[in-house]
């Protein structure tokens, strides 16, 4: 096993990996930009190396800076986390050239799965169905319009390189296409340094169900069941869970076999995720290979809670050349887990928020896990992804997990920046979530109704608390009434 590992990431995933290192007796090396000098991952790691100024392109996306940090700190391996360079074959190659172990698949596997054309061909050859689509060789507007017309509207325009919902545009008719192409191209260039676009048929009301796979260097390929990720907004996942309410044992067996077939065909190593669109539910539901993510996923904790395993530990073992710590037969699903992603965003307008975290208190209760990258007093920067933390609730069955998640979110104060916690609670209480009848459009169709619920007047307790906080500096008890002389009307309007 490695003695020292560099984590080429920030935020909650860097913290998650540092914790796994500590348990395994591996020294952790954090990297940071100037904006993250005092970030949680920097203070938790055994050592930390500055890699550049705040913009990602000059720090967390700089392969040279990462490799140099690994060299200077004496690390033997590099864990890329998710996002940033995690699916960049050049980092994997640069690691190999520098004699460092990259915790992930070999560069050629990243390259082939990163290309949607190659990945699709590979899935088809492995006998797994795919959604119609193409990357036009000619990337001119006219050629992309022609491709969309060939495939048939509605279509999804997305960066050929990349993921995470960035640069994805749904287009319902030819009139809206040119604007969508320009915007997707700009976002793709800004995020991934490559503006090549992919066009695919948009399937109406599908579910997004993905399978976790893990392979070692000894020929073992296993899957660790599914994750349902249908609650999304603009292709950015918001709530994930496992098991999926749409997946029956027979469908699970078919999809699991398909995921393993794709991983085998790709010569896959380490942890990866095979994403499918599911059309319908039950034993006979159709499913289509969407893409393979050649990295650890944000939502990996729900799998860990239900399968009772540690995916980061398994990643490190496999990267060090050891066999997988389990066989397919040993894996089982126990209970149900739900993850809610806590974003620094306005719950009504969905605009990302930056600013100081004045108060941050994680809930602590049975069956609840919080993976977080921030602490009270931290500054949420405009430069990075707005994901602050993930709350994962486990229960013997789905309803227990759902209620636990709600109770925990109601006891999770984050003040100073707005977060989507109020929206997460509304989603978890939505009749369709309760019933488990999900599809990827739920937030589009129900979003404004949910936002409307959040726009009401604040209850009088809020004003009483504000008066107490201000008049006494929070040190003394205050008693007041709603009627009669009203000490807080002078506060004026309240922004909710």
């Amino acid at each position: 096993m490695f003695q020292r590992l560099l984590i080429a990431n920030r935020g909650e995933i860097a913290v998650r990996i540092i914790r796994a290192c500590r348990e395994m007796g591996i020294e952790s090396v954090a990297v940071y930009s100037d904006a993250d000098r005092a970030a949680l991952h920097v203070t938790l790691a055994d050592r930390a190396v500055r890699i550049g100024p705040p913009p990602s392109a000059e720090s967390y996306l700089s392969i040279n800076a990462i490799i140099e940090a690994a060299r200077s700190s004496g690390a033997q391996a590099v864990h890329p986390g998710y996002g940033f360079l995690s699916e960049n074959q050049d980092l994997a190659s640069a690691c190999a050239a520098a004699g460092l172990t990259f915790v992930g698949p070999p560069p050629e596997v990243i390259a082939q799965m990163g290309s949607k054309i190659v990945a699709r061909r590979l899935a088809e050859q492995a006998g797994v169905p795919v959604v119609p689509g193409e990357t036009p060789a000619d990337q001119s507007d006219a050629a992309i319009v022609a491709a969309a017309t060939r495939i048939g509207f509605p279509v999804l325009i997305k960066p050929s390189e990349g993921g995470g919902g960035i640069g994805m545009k749904e287009v319902y008719d030819a009139a809206a296409l040119v604007d969508a192409i320009a915007q997707a191209r700009r976002e793709a260039t800004a995020a991934f340094g490559d503006g090549t676009l992919y066009v695919e048929r948009l399937i109406g009301a599908p579910r997004h169900v993905e399978f976790q796979v893990l392979s070692d260097h000894h020929g073992h390929v296993t899957h660790v069941f599914e994750r349902e990720c249908s609650i999304q907004r603009r292709h950015q996942k918001v709530i994930e869970e496992t098991p999926s309410t749409a997946v029956t044992p027979a469908l699970r067996a078919r999809m699991g076999a398909a995921a393993v077939a794709v991983a085998k065909a790709a010569g896959y190593r380490n942890a990866g995720t095979v994403e499918f669109l599911v059309d319908g539910s039950g034993d006979k539901a159709g499913f289509y290979f969407l893409e393979m993510n050649t990295r650890l996923q944000v939502e990996h904790p729900v799998t860990e809670q239900v399968a009772g395993i540690d995916l980061v530990r398994a990643q490190l073992l496999v990267a060090a050349g050891e066999p997988l710590p389990w066989t397919q037969e040993q894996l089982d699903q126990r209970g149900h887990a739900i993850e809610a992603r806590i974003y620094a965003e306005d719950p009504i307008t969905h605009l990302p928020q930056a600013g100081p975290v004045l108060l941050y208190r994680e809930p602590s209760m049975p069956g609840v896990r919080v993976d977080s990258g921030i602490i009270e007093g931290a500054e949420v920067s405009v430069h990075y992804d707005p994901l602050l933390a993930k709350l994962i609730a486990w229960g013997e069955h789905r309803e227990i997990a759902r209620r636990r998640a709600i109770v925990a979110l109601r006891a999770f104060p984050i003040l100073g920046i707005r977060t989507n916690i109020p929206m997460l609670i509304e989603l978890l209480e939505h009749p369709r979530f309760v019933a488990g009848t999900l599809d990827t459009r739920l937030m589009d169709t129900e979003g404004s109704a949910l936002a409307g619920k959040l726009a009401g007047e604040p209850p009088p307790e809020v004003q009483a608390v504000a008066v107490a906080a201000r008049s006494t500096d929070g040190q003394n008890s205050v008693e007041t009434t709603r009627s009669g002389i009203d000490p807080w009307t002078s506060l004026g309007s309240v922004r909710v």
Binding site: T349, H383, P460, A466, A469, G474, S477, V494
Partner: protein, 136 residues
């Protein structure tokens, strides 16, 4: 709820930014004060109580607010020029922050009288990015 109208609301400090609030049902709340605003957390909801009533309600119906960056952001593209007539919802400026494009659209029809930002510039919230003179 309504029959509790005259019940006293008791707020007892618990220290470290926490209050126990009791209006017949006892709950814990959290608060923080910054820049004149008091942030209050109650049952999973967050409320911001400004010091004076002068602060505009959020929601972006205000024309001036609609022409400002909602957060620190980079100007990606300016789609209009000075003197140009625009109609309601015309895309004026594309901003980018936290990997997302934020469109600034015309709140009403009018004529662009001044552009107060440049492409590539990092702009701050609260500052108008351009000015529009609204027709009759």
């Amino acid at each position: 709820m309504s029959n509790r109208g005259d019940r006293p609301i008791t707020v007892v400090p618990l220290g470290a930014g926490r209050f126990q609030v009791d209006d017949g049902r006892s709950r814990r709340t959290a608060f923080a004060v910054a820049a004149g605003d008091t942030w209050v957390f109650l049952d999973g909801r967050v409320f911001v109580v400004p010091q004076s009533g002068a602060v505009a309600r959020r929601g972006g119906t205000d024309d001036a607010a609609a022409l400002m960056a909602p957060m620190p952001a980079t100007v990606v593209n300016i789609h209009v020029s000075e003197g140009q007539q625009v109609s309601r919802d015309t895309l004026l400026i594309s901003l980018e922050a936290m990997k997302m494009e934020l469109p600034i659209k015309a709140p009403r029809a009018g004529r662009v009288t001044a552009i107060r930002c440049r492409a590539g510039e990092l702009v701050q919230p609260g500052v108008p990015l351009l000015e529009i003179e609204h027709g009759p």
